[in-house]
């Protein structure tokens, strides 16, 4: 299959899961190795945010919190327009490995086809624009 839906990476870290967990799930951690600044409300449904000095920002929604094994969140698909409703799901899994941790990250959902609802919303948007432009013209003509 040429269209990747899922990206998976595993890395071995020479620190126990508790320490890795803190780096993944606290504002101090996320704002150090991932972003330049972060905030997180660590509970399912909680909001998290990362900011980078160059102005880029990521907004996440926390989905799974099973300390210190599973941390999952969804975020906007990188590179798609901001108003696009599709999101990918990112899940970190921490497995003790001797003194250290085997950390796996899986990001999935890249191959969601814009579904019918999205398609309708999109077409609706295009038509909405045409209608709004039409109203503007009417307004200007009447003036």
């Amino acid at each position: 299959m040429g269209f990747p839906d899922r990206i998976e990476r595993t890395v071995e870290i020479a620190h126990p899961p508790a320490k890795v967990w803190a780096a993944l799930t606290t504002a101090e951690g996320l704002g150090t190795w991932f972003g330049n600044q972060a905030s997180i409300d660590l509970r399912p449904g909680g909001e998290a945010e990362m900011k980078w000095d160059e102005g880029h920002q990521a907004n996440m929604r926390v989905e799974r919190v099973e300390e210190p094994e599973v941390f999952g969140f969804t975020w906007h698909i990188y590179g798609l327009p901001d108003e696009d409703p599709r999101r990918t799901y990112v899940e970190f899994t921490l497995v003790p490995n001797g003194e250290g941790t085997r950390l796996t990250v899986v990001e999935s959902g890249f191959s969601q086809l814009p579904d019918d609802a999205h398609q309708v919303a999109f077409e609706g948007n295009t038509k909405g624009w045409a209608a709004e432009l039409g109203e503007l013209i009417e307004y200007l003509d009447a003036a």
Partner: protein, 111 residues
Amino acid sequence: MPPDNEAIAEQVFVALADPSRRSILATLASGGPATATDLAERLPITRQAIAKHLALLTDAGLVTPEPGERRRVRYRLHSAPMQVAQQFLAALARDWDGPLAALKDHLEGSA
């Protein structure tokens, strides 16, 4: 995964692989719907070549023909296939190696 996802993305990339088709799509994106004649006036491409490219782009679902003024067909950019291709690019552009290396450095460097 729906089987036609990859086919849609492929058609986008085939369309974008040709510089003339790229400039036709770019012109429609920046200037809105246009007829083959409009495009021939704006681009250094013959009208015949433009007609051929527009036929291919229409088959690929990247432009939609619609009735225009003086019974000329106008072509409008259809962006849904581009969104599918964008997702493919998003997967390729996603960098986890960089952040994970930074996490490892952060934890092991501070040990």
